[in-house]
């Protein structure tokens, strides 16, 4: 099982579950207790295997988990994170980007602005969401909503899940770079608490464009990466298939980000990953959000900004003179 990746592993587990189901059905039909005993043993075995497997996940497994087709997306979490979400649309400039949703909501009665990058599950939805690749309109909508939050001193929560910013002609034409850059500058100075949660793929500048925040949380099996592992492998080794090596080299896991001081907290996922229990995962996110929002809300705007700038200014590792 050492070299098995997450998808093969899940296939194996699914087969075990099938077997367990069969045993149970047979046991019930035939009123035999030994089938039940066998099934219980298999279940135990399955859970042990899962625990073992998840204890030794490789970075590439984390990539596959973060991109998992069943992984909950922003709109899957939002009903569990907040009440009375009213989605607001449009950047008031050009259009409405389906890859980025946002609006007004309340978290246990406290109003927040909620913004999330959004992938689609079926083909139609994927097209509508542009496969999660955010266009300039998306970043500008996000900024508009963040500024709405700032104006009325509402905290801002962003859910990050994108393979990256949209690289197509239309997006270059409409200033995808400008849109991201603009957000980086404005988010640094928002006079309201901000929390970013990486829930899936934290894809490069496309993720960062809504992830400059007072606190950055990462789901246990999310990733956050300067470039997609395949892209890195292409550049380094002219071989995109060496993504797993690049994933390892770039340190893209939640644990790595935490160790580097670039994620503030890792939110634990249920065994097997968030898609095994979206509601439970949402509850864990919500608990963390509320804890951090409580801390941040206690700060004055100027103290909040001082803290945020101290954090942003501290990003990086280098030697200071005199050198060793």
């Amino acid at each position: 099982m050492e070299d098995m990746n997450i998808l093969e592993f899940e296939q194996a587990i699914a087969e075990l579950n099938l077997e367990i189901g069969k045993l149970r059905t047979a046991a019930q039909r035939e009123r035999r207790s030994d089938g039940e005993v066998q099934a219980n043993a298999l279940e135990k075995r399955r859970d042990e295997l899962t625990t073992q497997f998840f204890a030794r996940l490789e970075p590439w497994d984390e990539v596959l988990l973060a991109r998992h087709k069943d992984r909950p997306y922003s709109l899957d979490y939002i009903p569990f994170l907040t009440e009375d979400f009213i989605e607001l649309h449009g950047d008031r400039l050009f259009g409405d980007d389906g890859a980025l949703v946002g609006g007004m909501a309340a978290m246990s009665g406290d109003p927040v602005i909620l913004i999330g990058q959004q992938k689609g599950r079926d083909l139609k939805e994927r097209q509508k969401r542009n496969f999660g690749y955010v266009r300039p309109e998306g970043y500008r909508k996000a900024l508009r909503l963040m500024q709405l939050g700032e104006k009325f001193r509402r905290p801002i929560v962003t859910l990050v899940d994108t393979p990256g910013a949209d690289p197509n002609v239309g997006s270059e034409e409409r200033g995808i770079s400008e849109a991201i850059a603009h957000n980086l500058r404005e988010m640094a100075a928002l006079r309201t608490p901000t929390i970013a949660v990486i829930i899936g793929e934290g894809g490069s500048g496309g993720a960062l464009g809504i992830a400059v925040a007072d606190r950055v949380l990462m789901l246990e099996h999310s990733i956050y990466s300067v470039i997609a592992p395949e892209g890195c492998a292409s550049i380094l080794w002219r071989d995109p298939s060496r993504g797993p090596d690049a994933a390892k080299a770039m340190r893209i896991t939640a644990k790595d980000a935490k160790r580097l001081g670039l994620a503030d907290e890792i939110v634990t996922e249920p065994l097997g990953g968030a898609h095994h229990d979206p509601e439970g995962t949402a509850a864990a996110i919500r608990e963390a959000l509320q804890r951090h929002l409580n801390e941040l809300s206690a700060l004055s705007p100027s103290a909040l900004l001082a803290q945020r700038f101290a954090k942003l200014r501290g990003f990086g590792q280098f030697l200071s003179a005199p050198f060793a």
Partner: protein, 324 residues
């Protein structure tokens, strides 16, 4: 004439996000004695003396060849006015990334004792004192990418501009965030963005000049945030490297796709300024921000009249020996 020409530093670096055209766009070859230079674009054979008098702009096709930091300094700021700072920190290899330490080694042997492609200092342009930064795309074959030292130097330069109330002029040339520092590299986008937010808060003019290439995370952060943004003709200015772009396109890109002119057409660049006009343009711009527009006669002579240093890389750090 295989032995007639010597190779200049390769411009096609393998840094993160430098996905520019596979064939180096600006490889310049010269006779060993340096008598002749071949235009990297149109192949014209030019007298090196003329070529350098023309600030490495091809007299035949107008191609603006990439410059080293020292060439840029010598040909832009008032003679002898550049005073460098920022080399009192040193890069680390925080992730133990493949081959990165070898590149940093290369950097440590830099003849000017520089610690990064980003060179920072103070200078005068047409008599206007400013903080002056320029990215050397050639430095340590790192393609002007943004690592921890880049971000820190940018921030310190911005801080100096704020504390000394000087405008900040920056020449960009970069492949983007530095892959070899993983998420720390990506976070330099956030750090420089925050730094520009602090410039804005202090109402310090920040003027960017985009040169070939300004792509990826560089364009999606500090390079798009100037109060005024100029660009050299024909520079590659884009989010996605051309290879990535070619893969992603669903729509046929225009002929000038991802160039300065394309970005200008789409409203992201204030003016495309030929190299020989940049000093006077910057001088007037700085005068506007300083509170009074100088008449043309008050500024230094057009830089085409300034003889460049014989060997650009041999120019002393303070530019004392630059010029004629």
């Amino acid at each position: 004439m295989p032995d007639w020409f010597r190779r200049r530093p390769r411009e096609d670096q393998d840094g993160a996000n430098d996905k520019s055209a596979p064939a180096p766009a600006s490889v310049v070859e010269a006779v060993p004695e340096g008598t002749f230079t071949k235009c990297a674009k149109c192949g014209a054979i030019l007298f090196t003396k003329d070529f350098e008098r023309d600030l490495k702009v091809c007299a035949k096709c107008g191609h603006h060849h990439r410059l080293t930091a020292d060439e840029r300094i010598a040909w832009t700021v008032d003679e002898g006015s550049f005073v460098e700072f920022g080399n009192d920190i040193a890069a680390l290899d925080p992730l133990g990334f493949p081959e990165y330490s070898r590149k940093l080694e290369l950097g440590r042997s830099d003849p000017n004792g520089r610690n990064d492609g980003l060179v920072t200092g103070t200078a005068q342009i047409g008599g206007n004192l400013c903080v002056f930064g320029v990215v050397d795309f050639f430095y340590a074959r790192l393609a002007g990418t943004m690592g921890s030292v880049f971000g820190e130097k940018f921030m310190r330069a911005a801080d100096k501009a704020i504390t000394e109330n000087l405008p900040f002029v920056l020449f960009c040339a970069s492949g983007g965030a530095r892959m070899q520092e993983g998420l720390l590299g990506l976070m330099q986008m956030a750090k420089t963005g925050a730094s520009v937010a602090q410039l804005a808060e202090a109402r310090i003019p920040y003027i960017c000049v985009l040169t070939d290439p300004t792509i990826g995370g560089a364009l999606a952060s500090y390079a798009s945030l100037g109060d005024v943004i100029y660009a050299e003709p024909g520079a590659n200015v884009a989010l996605a490297g051309t290879r990535v772009a070619q893969q992603a396109q669903t729509q046929k890109p225009p002929a000038n796709y991802q160039t300065s002119e394309f970005q200008w057409e789409h409203g992201f660049i204030d003016k495309v300024v030929p190299r020989k006009e940049i000093a006077i343009t910057l001088s007037r711009t700085l005068t506007f921000f300083a509170g009074g527009i100088a008449s043309q006669t008050e500024t230094k002579a057009s830089p085409v009249l300034v003889t460049p240093p014989d060997s650009p890389t041999a120019a002393k750090r303070n530019g004392a020996e630059g010029g004629h």
